[in-house]
């Protein structure tokens, strides 16, 4: 801006009436923005509210236009466990999510560390491979994988979904690597000067600093496996003993065709752990999301 002395040239009486509509306009946009935001927020929340309200209705009321429950039937949630083996599904889901997450951390943190903080020939190539692995749809390799697990007689169980995590998960490697890049090398150099071995630099200096990314990766993995439908359907579809919550929920309605109240109660039960976990770890989570998409 080179026109420094222009304001002096503008007569004061002209500026005053110009400002007035500006302020009013600002107030109007303020009101409009807030109104739109609140309306949208209510629309985004509405499905949750309807699920929750329907979940505590009687079965007959769930089929009526009523929005508000006449009587609050909280024992619907107990009923859900009686009508379907939800506890078994829950155990299976926990087995899948916890083991997959634990295994993923064991195998992916070292790989992410090597990709981010060590120099070696072929590193960029390996990283490209990680990215391609991350981006390709799982359906591309699904047939030979199924044949492989069938040969090892593990189809019908959740192990085909858990065990591969022992050998690294591309997305988690990517996520943790992106964070490790942001840690200044000075920390490591200082430790090296004090005679630290490379292993100790990794375990005692760098990885403790990477806790937020590791937490985010673990959360993502937990959510991914908890929400997974395709994997359990493929491998445990024919064996209802090993169904996860997602699979059990998808089949819940068929058992109880018109019982929307119980279906919604079950839906709420499956959603709840994810949402509770999110509220506890919101910061790590949002940080993880942005780490994957916004850098550079």
């Amino acid at each position: 801006m080179t026109t420094v002395d222009l304001p002096v040239a503008v007569p004061a009486p002209v500026r005053a009436p110009l400002r007035q509509p500006g302020r009013r306009r600002r107030l109007l946009t303020f009101i409009a923005e807030h109104a739109i935001a609140i309306a949208l927020a209510l629309m985004f929340l509405a499905p949750f509210v309807f699920i929750a309200l329907t979940a505590v209705m009687t079965n007959t009321q769930a089929l009526t236009p009523d929005v508000w429950p006449n009587s609050w039937r909280f024992d619907n949630f107990v009923e859900v466990f009686r009508t379907a083996p939800m506890l078994r599904y829950l155990t299976n889901s926990l087995l899948y999510s916890v083991l997959a997450t634990g295994f993923m951390l064991l195998s992916s943190i070292p790989a992410a560390y090597a990709l981010a903080r060590l120099r070696w020939r072929g590193r960029n190539l390996a990283f490209m491979a990680v990215l391609v692995m991350m981006m390709l749809p799982p359906q591309v390799t699904v047939v030979p994988m199924y044949v492989l697990w069938a040969r090892w007689e593990l189809t019908g169980t959740l192990w085909p979904l858990i065990l591969p995590n022992l050998l690294g998960d591309a997305f988690s490697i990517f996520l943790i690597r992106q964070f490790l890049l942001t840690i200044p090398e000075e920390y490591a150099d200082a430790a090296r000067c004090d005679g630290c071995s490379e292993l100790r630099v990794m375990l005692q200096i760098i990885l403790p600093l990477a806790k937020p990314a590791i937490a985010a990766a673990a959360l993502f993995m937990f959510f991914l496996t908890w929400n997974d439908y395709f994997g359990p359907l493929l491998y445990t579809g024919e064996n209802a003993n090993n169904w996860t919550l997602a699979l059990g929920l998808a089949n819940f309605r068929d058992l109880h065709r018109v019982q929307w109240n119980l279906t919604m109660a079950a839906t709420l039960l499956v959603m709840a752990p994810v949402i509770v976990l999110f509220f506890f770890a919101q910061k790590a989570f949002v940080r993880g999301v942005t780490l994957t998409g916004v850098k550079g």
């Binding site: 390996a126 990283f127 981006m135 390799t141 890049l181 490379e198 929920l249 089949n251 919604m264």
Partner: protein
């Protein structure tokens, strides 16, 4: 690393080539290589077993007839020619998936961008709003789809009830109407736009404020400011969102499978998988659903592999665009 060259006198002639790096350093380098190898070994093994091998096997199976019981039998390009000439469901599934790519991806990004802009402008309660808009993205897809099946169920669903109260004569069938099934899926995916929104939110917060002010002083209006200041700044992230969105839509399975099975009243696993898949009128038969049903309901594994190869080619093309066009990923590759 600076290598201090030893005087040649100390080095026996026979080992001169090796001697360029002194022994302690060589040992150190070998140790370094072993360290890297140890760290990368699990991933490398996984890459071979769970990626390279199945990729090659998929291509090989795609030229065969294979049903898991008898060994694969080579039939050349027959799987491919059959798909393009005599599989009406296959082509329908391509059309459906294409519809999802064309409509869902841009609409989700557009809404996510608008909402992100709105959330940024609201000072008080902004973080609460962010959480509310993000929440649906967390809902397990099966649960979210079931919820929408209830909300949009034609007879007693709250949506149709509301339409009736507002005086609309028509009561849309939503998931049960071949023409509306995919648009209803679109609504479901727009509801879950939180993942895109959070990314856009993060980058929008980084747009330099001075540039805004400068544009403002130059008399640029809201749209111009967006076009000339915001858009160039966020375009790499938009590209990221678009490409990952396309790849997500290419593998769109859960919501369509659950919605069509619930709306048709048949369980997605067990009995009726074959016949009622893609209800209504194959409107929700996406490419991966057809692949799944070909491979694992009728066990035509060779045919499913041919479809997998097509999926691979298309998604790899999109992935390559992203990998080439943006330095988003390789950021910092030089600094470590």
């Amino acid at each position: 690393m600076t290598t201090v060259a030893l005087p040649a006198v100390f080095v026996p002639a026979a080992t001169r080539r090796l001697a360029r790096t002194p022994a302690p350093l060589r040992r150190k380098r070998r140790k370094h290589r072993l360290f890297v190898l140890a760290l990368m070994a699990p991933w490398l093994l996984g890459f071979c077993i769970f990626f390279v091998y199945p990729l090659i096997a998929t291509v090989w199976f795609s030229f065969t007839r294979y049903n898991l019981l008898s060994p694969p039998e080579f039939i050349g390009l027959r799987n491919y020619t059959f798909f393009f000439t005599s599989d009406p469901y296959g082509l329908q599934s391509v059309r459906n998936t294409l519809w999802l790519v064309i409509f869902v991806v841009p609409i989700r990004i557009l809404f996510a961008l608008l909402i992100a802009q709105l959330v940024i402008r609201i000072k008080r309660g902004g973080s609460l709003l962010r959480t509310i808009f993000y929440l649906p993205a967390l809902a397990p897809p099966v649960a979210a789809t079931l919820a929408f099946c209830y909300l949009f169920n034609p007879a007693t669903g709250p949506v149709n009830q509301a339409l009736a109260k507002l005086g609309f004569g028509v009561q849309p069938l939503w998931f049960s109407d071949p023409a509306l099934a995919k648009p209803t899926l679109l609504i479901l995916t727009v509801w879950g736009l939180g993942d895109v929104m959070v990314i856009l939110l993060a980058v929008l917060l980084q747009v330099p404020v001075e540039q805004y002010e400068a544009a403002h002083l130059d008399g640029a209006n809201v749209l111009q400011r967006f076009r000339y200041v915001t858009l160039p700044f966020i375009s790499p992230v938009l590209l990221f969102a678009a490409v990952t969105g396309v790849i997500q839509m290419l593998q769109f399975f859960t919501q369509a499978a659950v919605a069509s099975s619930v709306a048709s009243g048949v369980a997605p696993v067990g009995g009726g998988l074959g016949e009622r898949l893609g209800y209504p009128d194959n409107a929700m038969l996406t490419f991966p659903i057809w692949l799944y049903s070909k491979g694992f309901a009728s066990f035509q594994l060779g045919y499913a592999c041919a479809m997998a190869v097509m999926l691979f080619v298309v998604s790899f093309a999109f992935a390559a665009v992203l990998l080439r066009k943006s330095r988003v990923f390789l950021y910092g590759a030089e600094q470590a």
